[in-house]
Homo-oligomer: 208 residues x 2
DNA sequence: CTCGTCTGAATGAACGGTCACTCAGTCAAG
DNA sequence: CTTGACTGAGTGACCGTTCATTCAGACGAG
């Protein structure tokens, strides 16, 4: 059937599977992005992934679990990357700039994934609550802690509520991403990070 | 015609029609907010509205049209209010402050409506595109024009791209609203408008 | 006033299409 | 042979939508 089989022979026998799980996740991201989660049929995901309907259920308990998996992997990677890339930096302003850039670069690099994150995951309070609890909360914490670091260093106005300020930055970036997805015009998403940071840092800076 | 007549309080068992259309819209907002649009059954909406399943179809062509109606009414009112309230103001900074306050006051006053706007309407690219085209675009334009007014007056940095800046402000407000919905803690949404504006105006201001 | 007639808003049971999920069977490798 | 990954037709539940039927009130005639 698929030549992928032979390609994979190179690996160990049991792990020989050309990772169908991976194929299904990729297919689902594409299908969900195109039609929306609720309008997508599991059969479509299976077809795009090149497997039978039933195979999907060998890797995922339910349609919903596919969406959850896409989300968990995406947010996990994003947070890990942000932590790793900021660890080496000293200036909190630079840290925030790096976080913002990573945020928009990541979404800008994979439109399907961006659609799922910006649109599909928001489509029900149920998912939103998980989203909020699991990933967003940690991401916002990362931003908040960086802000507080800057406040202690006297770089940012001390009287500002770091929690609210973190949401402002996140919200601004989030809106850039959502608008980019909906825009028919093709433009680069990542550079907007600098414009956002420019205004944002100016707004929270303590030096006049 | 007047549907709410004085006979409303009469002892008539069949009280005069208190606008079923209105009742259905209100019920749908509640039901959609609770279960999500795709998980809601038309039968649930009918039950909450106190009408039979079929009656819903005397007032709306389809389930989707109910959602569209909620959206159109909401966004129409919001834009009208923003225009009306800013018309009398001179200072672009005050205009923006008023827009932000109205934005959050409106959503903060009706949690169900807020959930539908912040969550349910985002749940499919299809709705998002309509949302974007119909209402959001006009709202962003209102903000952008106010920003440009401020730039011409020398209040805001002239080198900033007003379109991007408008999205930043909108995104920040939007995130406040979404977070408020998802938060179990009860706090007032509207006052956050001032914190957002504080940082925002500081960030775009041309005077040091 | 009291019929008799008519109207159309409202009803809700039933329909029909859709689709997530299942499972009995196939097949290839060892 | 056994094993287990994979298949895909089948199934049953679900739910948006329809439509034959009901009945409260309007209205004209007497």
């Amino acid at each position: 059937m698929r030549s992928a089989r032979s390609v994979n022979q190179s690996s160990s026998p049991r792990a020989s599977v050309p990772d169908k799980r991976e194929a299904i996740l990729r297919a689902a991201t594409k299908v969900f992005a195109e039609s929306g989660y609720f309008n997508s049929k599991v059969a479509d995901v299976a077809r795009v992934a090149g497997v039978a309907d039933g195979t999907v259920y060998l890797y995922f308990k339910s349609k919903e679990e596919i969406l959850r998996s896409i989300f968990e992997r995406g947010v996990g990677e994003a947070i890990a990357a942000a932590r790793a890339e900021t660890a080496a930096l000293d200036d909190p302003r630079e840290k925030l700039r790096r976080i913002a850039r990573l945020h928009l670069e990541r979404l800008g690099a994979d439109r399907d994934l961006a659609v799922v994150f910006q649109v599909e995951l928001r489509g029900s309070t149920k998912f939103m609550e998980e989203f909020s609890a699991a990933g967003l909360a940690e991401y916002l914490r990362l931003i908040r802690e960086t802000l507080e670091e800057g406040q202690r260093a006297g770089l940012f106005r001390a009287e500002l509520n770091a929690k609210v300020v973190a949401k402002i930055l996140f919200g601004a970036l989030d809106e850039m991403a959502t608008n980019w997805i909906l825009s028919p015009r093709a433009y680069k998403l990542a550079p907007l990070a600098d414009q956002v940071l420019d205004i944002f840092l100016n707004g929270v800076s303590s030096n006049k």
